[in-house]
């Protein structure tokens, strides 16, 4: 695009993913972050909401930071389908020309964003963990851990618009609602025909959220390779139960098959922000810290005093997990003999 064409694009958009009429958390996290970024560019934040029967949501989106909400409410959009959602969003983008489009890196977001970016022939940086504005160049800088040890990379999309990024759930803070905020609602009509849509959803099964997922846990005890084997995780589970914490893991024990991928914390696992994080035999690689650095209190137990995790832990114990963890278990038992 020429510099003049680039200038036509203004404003920051956030795609709002909803499930059964409830916006998913990462979309709200992005509205808060988007608000901060848009203020630096002195532009509006627009939430784009697609679905059926989603009319209850828009107010909330405004409280979380949107200035405008574009609503595409239609039976054809009841279930998420790539083509339907891509068609709707691309049409609105071409009409209004936002300079930035942010999408949560959920399963659906990661299905949708690349499809849109290919149609618009623009760049999309996947799975970012940090976003900021380069004011001088008027660009969004999307950063994420890079392949390799403790490397980060900043990505930009200088010559195409909109600049797109998908952002990992949990890495941006969920800002508080501001119920005094006012905004504009824009309903758009869809002229999509069911017979043109090539994919059918035959069934959707979602396990009910039990409210105790790793992401929402108050306390998390994470095991790394330092635990040595599957048995190490059994010991860790005992500690976690006594602390009323959840167990998490780095990627290597997951790859080794000691624990399932559902427990992985980090860039390619879950991002967590518990009040207490205890890392046991965790080195603190950047791909891991990307998913836990916002924990309130970080405790590290590691045999190597030079381990990276000690750079960002609040408290550390230098020692063997096979000695320290049993000592913690013993101490907790003594403190509360009932458990």
């Amino acid at each position: 695009m020429s510099p003049d064409e680039l200038k036509e694009y203004k404003g920051l958009w956030v795609f709002i993913e909803q499930r059964n009429g409830n916006p998913v958390r990462v979309s709200l996290e992005l509205l808060g972050k988007g608000r901060t970024l848009a203020d630096q560019l002195d532009v509006d934040v627009t939430a784009i909401l697609v679905g059926e029967g989603v009319s209850g949501i828009p107010e909330e989106l405004i409280y979380y930071g949107a200035d405008r909400v574009i609503i595409a409410d239609d039976p054809i959009a009841r279930d998420y389908r790539t083509e339907v959602y891509a068609d709707i969003i691309v049409e609105q983008v071409l009409r209004e020309k936002p300079e930035i489009l942010l999408i949560g890196a959920t399963c659906i977001g990661r299905d949708l964003a690349p499809r849109i970016s290919a149609r618009l022939e623009t760049g999309c940086t996947a799975d970012c963990t940090e976003l900021h504005i380069d004011k001088e160049m008027r660009l969004i800088v999307a950063a994420k851990p890079f392949f390799g040890r403790n490397l980060m990379a900043d990505f930009i999309c200088p010559f195409r618009r909109p600049q797109m990024a998908t952002v990992r759930p949990g890495v941006m803070e969920l800002k508080a609602q501001d119920r005094k905020r006012k905004g504009k609602l824009i309903c758009v009509d869809l002229n999509l025909k069911e017979e043109d849509i090539r994919v059918t959803v035959l069934e959707t099964v979602r396990s009910a959220p039990d409210g105790t997922s790793l992401e929402e846990a108050d306390k998390v005890v994470v095991g790394g390779m330092g635990l040595g084997d599957v048995k190490g995780f059994e010991m860790l589970k005992e500690l976690a139960d006594l602390l009323r914490a959840k167990v998490g893991a780095t990627s290597l024990p997951v790859d080794a098959g000691w624990i399932s991928k559902d427990y992985q914390v980090g860039q390619t696992g879950k991002a967590i922000r518990p009040r207490l994080y205890i890392g046991c035999g965790v080195s603190g690689a950047i791909q891991h810290s990307a998913g836990m650095i916002h924990s309130e209190l970080i405790v590290a137990i590691n045999i190597n005093p030079k381990a990276d995790i000690f750079n960002f832990a609040d408290y550390g114990i230098i020692g063997d997990v096979n000695e320290i963890v049993p000592a913690l278990i013993k101490e907790l038992h003594e403190m509360n003999p009932k458990i």
């Binding site: 299905d111 949708l112 999309c124 996947a126 799975d127 099964v205 970080i298 101490e331």
Partner: protein, 262 residues
Amino acid sequence: MDMVVCIKQVPETTDIGWDPQTGSLIREGVPGILNPNDKNALEAALDLREKHGGLITALSMGPPQAEEALREALSMGIDRGILLSDSLFAGADTLSTSYTLGLALEKIARFDLILCGKESSDGMTAQVGPQLAELLNLPQLTCAIEITVNRSAVKIKQKLEDGFRILETCLPALITVEREINRPRIPAMDSIIEAYRDKKVQVWAGADIGCHTEHLGLKGSPTRSRKVYRKKVKRGEVTILEGEPDEAAKELIQILKQKGLL
């Protein structure tokens, strides 16, 4: 049912250099392996061929050494390999990669199904599949943990973070597969030897697929890595709890108690 499986060679280690000028990984000279997730895509194709017949082509874009990944695919039992290799392709982001793969697929022309891994272990963007589907104007079914084909219809079980969906579409289509869809076969020694000896891998350059150079490689990539840097994550000073294991443990429990965390 003819299938094309897109496979990528990825660096074996995570300790790898990068070019500060372009921000790209330096792949030359680094031992490469077949992206583990792409083995699942190959296995899924082999499984479908058993049921429905057809020809399986593995397609890869990469430096000349990526031929090894195609040989590995051949040893698993696929029918032929095509390597897209040209210095013009270097530095491609996902969009430019998809563009190049897309042109090769147009040249291959005969296929009912394209299979990709969900993500590569180095890029990990999970973008190439959907972008390729868009460029070829095909329906996409992502994150498959089951695939069934019935005449011209294909159904998948799609994994979501909190459940699954059953999706259906018509062929031709593009599917990306999850790691858990299957356990890729381990090729026998003689098929490995055969894959290196007999079966040919075709190499196509930019000119063979008739591409516009402005869409290729770094030039055709809308995203740029502006900066790659070592980051020491820091958050204030750490307080080390000293002493014997039980002393340190006691102290930590005290701290957690004081902070209302017990």
